[in-house]
């Protein structure tokens, strides 16, 4: 009885402790700079303690949900599509997943609004709310489209088993060539937009989809072929956003 209880307790405790370990570096860095470098007191200590507890709990729940929900769904969808054998529907799903999860992404909305401000200040578009809204919305749809294309292309690569580095090197060349022609104001935003597209919910799902596909298709290795969808999704937005800047500018 006691042994079982204590086993239960350690099973509950272990993920909590590892979440604490994940958060510890941030707390140490902030504490060190606040107390030693800036020589200030910690404002509102109780609030910080509550916040840290929430973060640790949140991380623990997230990992639990990952293993119960997101990973199995991504994998079972991959198996179901592989069994069904319809390339069209698989690619349609890949595109929808990329487009649908990106278009509403809060980080992207923030970056798009910021970019509209830069464009208005640089005189690329008119300096009033309507033009800026139109520019930001256009940018958002451009990025969402680029992520949809990325996941579609990435899934197609997994099915064909083509080596990933040809695509990535080709993408890099695309970025470099576009950089030479794109207006200067858009470059920083374009480069950053590659990093903000993949949210915390999309990443596990898309990873599970890729690995699931690679494991269910004969002759594919999940390690070599299964990963790489995220890489595609962070590369295409750079090219598409610079193209957007060139067309609008």
């Amino acid at each position: 009885m006691i042994a079982r209880l204590s086993r239960r307790f350690t099973r509950l405790l272990k993920p909590l402790i590892s979440s604490v370990g994940d958060l510890l570096p941030i707390v140490l860095v902030v504490g060190f700079f606040q107390l030693v470098v800036l020589r200030q007191t910690i404002p509102d200590f109780a609030q910080i303690v509550i916040g840290v507890i929430l973060v640790v709990l949140g991380l623990t729940f997230f990992i639990k949900g990952l293993e119960m929900g997101l990973f199995p769904v991504g994998e079972s969808m991959a198996y179901a599509f592989a069994r069904k054998g319809s390339l069209f529907w698989l690619l349609a799903f890949a595109f929808a997943l990329g487009f649908g999860t990106t278009v509403a992404e809060p980080a992207l909305i923030a970056v798009a609004n910021e970019a509209a401000k830069v464009a208005a200040e640089g005189g690329v578009i008119a300096h009033h709310a309507e033009a800026m809204d139109a520019y930001a919305t256009g940018l958002r749809f451009t990025v969402a489209l680029s992520v949809g294309v990325a996941i579609l292309l990435g899934v197609f690569r997994i099915i064909k088993g083509w080596p990933i580095h040809y695509f990535i090197i080709g993408g890099y060349l695309g970025v470099v060539v576009m950089t030479m022609f794109a207006p200067e104001e858009i470059i920083g935003i374009a480069y950053d937009s590659g990093g903000v597209t993949t949210s915390t919910i999309t990443v596990p799902l898309v990873t599970a989809l890729g690995v699931g596909l690679a494991s269910s298709i004969r002759g594919r290795n999940p390690m070599i072929d299964g990963f790489g969808l995220i890489a595609f999704a962070s590369l295409t937005p750079m090219i598409f956003v610079m193209a957007y800047g060139m067309i609008i500018g």
Binding site: G65, V176, G195, T200, I224
Partner: protein
């Protein structure tokens, strides 16, 4: 306490709107195209609920505890009065910013270790590789890459050199490493560039970039404040490939001796 509840509500709503399109796409395709019930549906729904709850708590906690103080810190560290101290009035040069480089390095490392999407990819990679890629090892390599990337990125803002030079040189390094690295690691390494920058890293790093660009003389926040995220997505690729090359080199040396 009321504020906390309000914050929790807002965060839950924004997480729900994040999950909703994903749920619609998954269930839509499941019912219309695949036309089979989802296996272990009850478990999956609970899983989605846990993800939602977890992310909401996570974001509220960060907003409550770490982001305000981190943002304030970025501002204070970039304040000319702090950087020059008693010599205020003279023009700062790049070597005056020692604490900023240390802050950039450590905060880049620390936020990446706490990044949930990196953890997800690391769990999957460890599972697929049968444990030969460790969860801790991968996360440490990625975090080290982000730390180096952000530090170099702050140097770029301070020195005012063009962003695309750094990125293009980074690309060339990645391409050379690709041809020298074990095949197994390449796709995973490319992926690790995209997962580093989400919920934890972006807000703090953006505050640092904007703070620097608005206080360093001659920089504009609009033009120079961007670009740190790009560094944080490129350098982990180099770090992970480098880590794999190092392990391979060590293994080949110990087997030949």
């Amino acid at each position: 306490m009321n504020d906390l509840l309000q914050l929790l509500l807002n965060s839950t709503l924004s997480t729900v709107s994040d999950v909703l399109p994903i749920a619609i796409i998954i269930f839509g395709f499941q019912f219309l195209v695949i036309r089979k019930p989802i296996p272990h549906l009850k478990n999956v729904l609970f899983g989605f609920f846990y993800v939602l709850l977890g992310l909401s708590l996570f974001l509220v906690g960060l907003e409550e505890a770490l982001f305000p103080i981190g943002r304030l810190m970025a501002q204070q560290l970039t304040d000319p009065a702090f950087i020059l101290g008693s010599e205020l009035g003279r023009l700062a040069v790049w070597s005056d910013y020692g604490w900023i480089y240390l802050f950039a390095f450590t905060i880049g490392y620390a936020t990446t270790i706490a990044e949930p999407s990196l953890l997800a990819v690391a769990i999957k990679a460890s599972e697929v590789s049968g444990g030969s890629i460790g969860i801790r090892g991968l996360r440490n390599a990625v975090a080290l890459g982000v730390a180096i990337g952000i530090t170099l990125g702050t140097f770029r803002i301070i020195s005012g050199t063009p962003l695309h030079y750094y990125i293009i040189v980074g690309y060339i390094i990645v391409i050379i490493q690709t041809f020298k690295s074990p095949k197994m690691i390449i796709a995973l390494a490319y992926d690790s560039g995209g997962v580093t920058t989400s919920t934890v890293t972006v807000p703090l790093v953006t505050a640092l970039g904007l703070g620097l660009a608005s206080t360093v003389p001659g920089r504009s926040p609009m033009l120079d404040g961007f670009g740190l995220i790009a560094f944080a997505s490129l350098f982990p690729i180099i770090a992970v490939l480098g880590y794999a090359q190092l392990s391979q080199w060590r293994a080949s040396r110990s087997s030949s001796s």
